[in-house]
């Protein structure tokens, strides 16, 4: 009984860690650029695939992939912002949404074409094999690693954004980018770097996910639906909200899987509907 519950809660915590990493990136991007980045799932998949391809074709291991893959995904983000998104500034944010949605379809389509539908396994790095026996449950080392690192990255990002001068630029730009630019800050470059960072977070989450889930071209599109629900529940653009809600939603899902397994896939969306009815701006969002 306890074992089943804690097992599901651990699974929920791990899913929640990925939700937090992904919704954090979405929140940062939406906050500053006013872009709903529908390519986020594809960029997460790209991160996982780059790690897999690196290992398969170049013999690059997990640890290097964890560093390089987000950098490459982030670099593609810089290009996407510079070449496409910048042209859509000042237009309704529906255009950015449609553009990134189209981009996601193109990226996923290309990988589908090249690698097919079936998943490829990615080995757990040697250092993180095995696990701990906690008495009431068995905790695989890699899963503990995922939770700790995701939390660390999420809280680190929150700290940088809320407590440092770099974060002050981001917060000010989120409020009024035109005025910030009139004060002498190169806001266009800030937009580009912020999009690159948010996308790099997605790529990082992808590498972290590779040893747990199968690496497939569609791995992002199934996850991103839940992540968007998380963002709506937490409040569009709220940094802390996206982290707390990400973990929370993962745990709620895990708990539901224990109580009523059939409802586990739906509970997030029920929660989203309820939050939208009661607090349309989300749990942590500011009412406009």
């Amino acid at each position: 009984m306890i074992q089943a519950l804690s097992g599901q809660l651990l699974l929920g915590l791990i899913n929640g860690s990925f939700y937090a990493l992904l919704s954090l990136g979405l929140a940062i991007i939406f906050g500053l650029l006013d872009v709903v980045n529908f390519a986020h799932g594809a960029q997460y998949m790209l991160g996982a695939f780059l790690a897999w391809m690196g290992l398969q074709y170049l013999g690059i291991g997990y640890w290097w992939a964890l560093l390089l893959s987000p950098l490459v995904v982030g670099a593609t983000g810089l290009v996407v912002e510079r070449v496409f998104l910048r042209r859509l500034q000042g237009l309704d944010n529906l255009y950015g949404l449609l553009l990134t949605f189209g981009l996601a379809l193109v990226i996923e389509g290309l990988f589908h074409h090249a690698f097919g539908n079936s998943g490829s396994p990615y080995p757990v790095p040697e250092l993180l094999r095995g696990g701990f026996d906690l008495g009431f449950m068995y905790l695989p080392k890699y899963r503990a690693w995922v939770v700790v690192v995701s939390l660390g990255i999420s809280l680190g990002s929150w700290f940088v954004i809320e407590k440092t001068p770099i974060g002050a630029y981001l917060r000010a730009g989120t409020e009024n980018p035109r005025l910030l630019q009139a004060f002498g800050v190169n806001v266009p470059v800030m937009f580009m770097l912020t999009y690159g960072f948010g996308v790099a977070l997605a790529g990082f989450a992808g590498v972290m996910a590779a040893p747990i889930y199968q690496v497939t071209p569609m791995m992002g599109s199934s996850l991103i639906m839940v992540v968007f629900a998380v963002v709506v529940i937490g409040g569009m653009g709220s940094i802390l909200g996206s982290i707390v809600t990400g973990i929370g939603v993962g745990l709620v899902e895990g708990f539901t899987k224990f109580l009523w397994p059939e409802a586990a896939n739906v509970v997030v969306f029920v929660l989203m509907a309820v939050v939208l009815l009661v607090r349309p701006a989300g749990l942590f969002g500011r009412q406009k």
């Binding site: 001068p165 002050a168 630029y169 917060r171 000010a172 989120t174 409020e175 009024n176 035109r178 005025l179 910030l180 630019q181 009139a182 004060f183 002498g184 800050v185 190169n186 806001v187 266009p188």
Partner: protein
């Protein structure tokens, strides 16, 4: 500056500005020499705020010529205009204090844009309230304190050409007097100031010259010395 003091630090010729389809400025001409204080007077909608925003590149589109320190800025990105030699500082009408930043973060946010930023000690000497309230959220300050913060941050960043939009609007008389002393001090220190003001009694003793705007163009210019003889027509113009 190596240029003679007679050469204007701000020179605007035939400035036209647009927000989308609406044409808001129809050929503004004005000159401001280094160290001068000038005002832009006129009724609401006459184009005073649009003129300031045009200087910073914050309107949709602009044509004509705006030279800052001899450099043409039409077509330049706003962040480059702010960093032009002299340092261009802007107090927007709505004050533009960032709500998600503390008072101190608001103050320290701006990058250095001029050669000589005002040191913190002098800033806090000029605006003592900001020191007491440095940990408060920026928008929790009173209106007067927010206005002082908006002024202080551009001085700290090193701006020497100050574009101040309606800094006395909605403030108590005692605060308006304090702001008047601040502007006077800045003038004595050689700052160049363009004031958009409704409060003529605030602006009159400070300014070297007044530009009267109507329907998006300058319709009259009054030097400080001619003011007493022109009061009647001026009051009629402003509708007060």
């Amino acid at each position: 500056m190596s240029a003679p003091s007679a050469a204007p630090i701000l020179r605007i010729r035939d400035l036209q500005a647009f927000y989308g389809e609406s044409h808001v400025l129809h050929g503004v001409d004005l000159d401001v020499a280094e160290g001068e204080v000038v005002t832009l007077l006129g009724r609401n909608g006459s184009g005073r705020t649009s003129t300031l925003k045009s200087i910073l590149g914050l309107v949709g589109r602009r044509t004509g010529s705006i030279q800052v320190g001899g450099q043409e800025t039409v077509g330049m990105a706003p962040h480059r205009i702010a960093r032009l030699g002299i340092g261009v500082g802007y107090c927007p009408e709505e004050r533009g204090i960032f709500a998600s930043l503390t008072t101190e973060e608001n103050l320290q946010l701006l990058p250095r844009i001029g050669a000589a930023g005002m040191p913190d000690a002098e800033i806090y000497d000029m605006f003592p309230n900001l020191l007491e309230r440095r940990r408060s959220q920026g928008t929790r300050l009173s209106g007067g304190e927010q206005q002082m913060l908006a002024m202080a941050r551009i001085l700290r960043a090193g701006a020497r050409l100050l574009l101040l939009d309606e800094i006395t609007e909605g403030l108590a008389p005692v605060i308006v007097q304090a702001l008047g002393r601040v502007v006077q001090q800045l003038k004595e220190r050689g700052y160049t100031i363009v004031l958009v003001e409704q409060n003529f009694r605030f602006a009159a003793p400070l300014a070297d010259r007044h530009y009267l705007l109507e329907h998006g163009r300058v319709v009259d210019t009054i030097e400080a010395g001619q003011l007493s003889g022109r009061m009647e027509s001026l009051q009629e113009f402003l509708g007060v």
